[in-house]
C-alpha cells in the first residue's frame, strides 16, 4: 500500500519500464542494536499506524511476542541470550522485519504484475490488490519475511511506512523508539551516522562492532549496527552473507524466456515440417492392397 506512483524503480513480473520520472532520494532505517532495550514500543507503533491487531497468542517461554512474524505482525523483537565470551552474558535484541533489499528476492520471484514494487527511494512495497497468493515471494526472500494471510491469501510485510515516507514523515517505529535506537533518513546519512556509532562501540571494547548492510542483496534500506558484526548469526540467525539463492536465480533468470522461445519454435517448427515434408500417409501400394 502506498501513495507513490511516479517513482517506481522496479515492478514485479513486468518487462517494460515502470513510471519513473520522479526520482526520490534513497532512504534507510538504521537499527542500533546496542541501544535497543527490547521495550517493543516499535511493535506497538507498527500495529497502531497500520491499524492491525494480531491474534493474542500464548507465551512460549521467551520474551519474543508474538513468536514469529505474521500477516498482521510486520515487525517483532527477537531476543537471544548469548555468551559471546566465557562468563560474559549478552542479551542481543534484534528488531526483525523486511530489510528492503536493493536487490529484492521477493520481487524477482513474484509472478503477478505490480504485486511488488520498489520505489526509487529503495522501499520495497507489496500491493496486495494485485497479489494472487502463490507464495513465490516467500520462496524468493533471503530473510524469511513475507507471510501469506490465512484470512485472505495475500502476502504481507513491513512497508517501511511507505505511506508516511511519501509525505515526508519518518516510519512509525522510528518516531516511537524511546532510546533513539532506530533512526531514519537518507541512506548516505545513515551510513555516516552508523560509522560514528561503530567508532564509539569499538572504543567501549566491542572490537568487532560494525554496520550490517549486506552487499549480497545490493545493500539494504534497513540496516543494523551490530556489536558483533563478525558473527551476525548470534542475532537470532541473521544471515551472514544473504543473497538471492542461486536456485531462485536459475528459476527466474534467462532460462524462462529461452524456454518460452523454444516452445514456440517447436510449435512453429512442426507446422513448417508439415508444409515442407508433407503428411506421413499410407503408401499407394498398401492402400491398393486393401481395396476390394
Amino acid at each position: 500500500m502506498a501513495l507513490q506512483s511516479l517513482d517506481i524503480k522496479a515492478r514485479s513480473a513486468t518487462t517494460t519500464p515502470s513510471p519513473a520520472v520522479r526520482e526520490t532520494m534513497p532512504v534507510a532505517k538504521l537499527i542500533d542494536i546496542s541501544k535497543c532495550i527490547g521495550c517493543k514500543a516499535c511493535q506497538a507503533a507498527c500495529m497502531e499506524w497500520n491499524d492491525l491487531r494480531d491474534e493474542v497468542g500464548t507465551n512460549v517461554g521467551v520474551y519474543d511476542n508474538p513468536a514469529d512474524l505474521s500477516a498482521k505482525s510486520w515487525t517483532l523483537m527477537r531476543f537471544s541470550e548469548v555468551e559471546v565470551e566465557q562468563g560474559k552474558l549478552e542479551w542481543l535484541i534484534r528488531k526483525d522485519g523486511c530489510m528492503h533489499c536493493a536487490d529484492p528476492g521477493c520481487l524477482k520471484a513474484c509472478p503477478a504484475p505490480g504485486a511488488i514494487v520498489q520505489y526509487s527511494n529503495g522501499i520495497v512495497d507489496f500491493h496486495e490488490e494485485n497479489c494472487i497468493g502463490c507464495g513465490y515471494c516467500v520462496t524468493g526472500c533471503p530473510f524469511n519475511v513475507p507471510r501469506i494471510s490465512a484470512q485472505d491469501s495475500k502476502a504481507y510485510k513491513c512497508t517501511l511506512c511507505s505511506d508516511r515516507v511519501a509525505v515526508g514523515m519518518e516510519p512509525a517505529c522510528v518516531k516511537t523508539c524511546p532510546t533513539g535506537a532506530i533512526v531514519f533518513g537518507a541512506k548516505e546519512d545513515m551510513i555516516t551516522h552508523a560509522e560514528g556509532r561503530v567508532t564509539d562501540l569499538k572504543s567501549r571494547g566491542y572490537a568487532n562492532a560494525g554496520l550490517y548492510d549486506p552487499q549480497g542483496v545490493g545493500g539494504t534500506h534497513v540496516m543494523y549496527v551490530l556489536q558483533h558484526a563478525d558473527k551476525p548469526e548470534l542475532y537470532s540467525g541473521l544471515p551472514r552473507d544473504p543473497a538471492i539463492s542461486p536456485m531462485v536465480g536459475l528459476w527466474k533468470g534467462v532460462a524462462k524466456p529461452l524456454a518460452s522461445f523454444a516452445i514456440g519454435l517447436v510449435a512453429i517448427g512442426s507446422l513448417f515440417h508439415y508444409v515442407m515434408k508433407g503428411p506421413n500417409e499410407v503408401s499407394k501400394d498398401i492402400e491398393k492392397e486393401f481395396e476390394e
Binding site: 518487462t15 504484475p113 497468493g133 516467500v138 520462496t139 536456485m247 517447436v266 512442426s270 508433407g278 506421413n280
Partner: protein, 210 residues
C-alpha cells in the same frame, strides 16, 4: 463417419476416456501454469477467472491429472518396454523425420519414438507431481525446508516446459501421420494404416492376413 467392419480396434472406450481425461487436464494445467511461468503468459489467467483463480485451481487440476496419468500408466507401460528393434528405430529417427520410412525397422503397437516419449512423459509427470506438492503454498509448503521449495520451483518449471514440448511433438506426430487421430475418437484404425505404420502389430492381430 460410417465405420468399416474390417477396421482394427486399437483402443477401448475406457482407454480413450482415460487418455482424454489426461489430455484435457494437461491443457488446463499448461495454460494456467504458464500464467505463473513468465509475464508474457500472464493474460492466460483470464481463461480461469483471473490470477487468483488460476493459482487456486491449477494444483487441484494437477491432482486430477496425476491420478488419470497413473491409471493410464498401468494400462500402457508393458506395451512401451523398449526392445533392441526400438533402439534401432530410434537410431534412424532422422530418416523418419525426413519423411522416408522405407528402411525403418518394423514397429509393433508402438514404435521406438512413441515408447521413448512415453517414458519421458512419465518422468516429467513424476517430477511435476512431487515438486507441485512441495510448492503448493496453501497446504503443503510449510512442511518443507526453504531449500527444497526453491529446488522444487526450478524442477516444476523445467519439467513443465519439457512436458509442453513433448506434448507438442506428440500431437504433431498424430496429425502428421494421417489416419491416426481417429484412434483417439473412435478407437479404430484402418488395416492399411496398421500395415504401413505398425507392421509387426498388424501381423500380430490379423495373423498376417488382409
Amino acid at each position: 463417419m460410417k465405420r468399416d467392419p474390417k477396421d482394427l480396434a486399437r483402443y477401448t472406450a475406457s482407454e480413450r476416456a482415460n487418455h482424454w481425461a489426461v489430455g484435457i487436464t494437461f491443457i488446463l494445467l499448461g495454460l494456467s501454469g504458464l500464467t505463473f511461468f513468465h509475464p508474457a503468459f500472464y493474460p492466460l489467467n483470464q481463461l480461469f477467472g483471473g490470477g487468483v483463480w488460476a493459482r487456486i485451481l491449477h494444483p487441484f487440476i494437477g491432482v486430477v491429472m496425476a491420478l488419470s496419468f497413473v491409471a493410464m500408466f498401468f494400462r500402457f507401460w508393458k506395451l512401451n518396454v523398449i526392445t533392441p528393434t526400438d533402439k534401432e528405430w530410434l537410431s534412424r529417427i532422422g530418416e523418419m523425420v525426413d519423411g522416408d520410412d522405407h528402411n525403418m525397422p518394423e514397429a509393433g503397437k508402438y514404435n521406438g519414438g512413441q515408447k521413448l516419449l512415453f517414458w519421458l512423459l512419465v518422468a516429467c509427470m513424476a517430477l511435476l507431481t512431487v515438486s507441485g506438492i512441495v510448492i503448493w503454498r496453501a497446504y503443503f509448503s510449510a512442511l518443507f525446508p526453504i531449500g527444497l521449495i526453491r529446488l522444487s520451483s526450478v524442477v516444476h518449471a523445467a519439467a513443465a516446459a519439457g512436458m509442453i514440448v513433448l506434448i507438442i511433438v506428440h500431437v504433431y506426430a498424430a496429425i502428421w501421420t494421417r489416419g491416426t487421430i481417429r484412434a483417439m475418437w473412435y478407437g479404430t484404425v484402418s488395416r492399411a494404416w496398421a500395415k504401413q505404420h505398425h507392421p509387426a502389430w498388424f501381423r500380430q492381430i490379423t495373423g498376417g492376413g488382409k
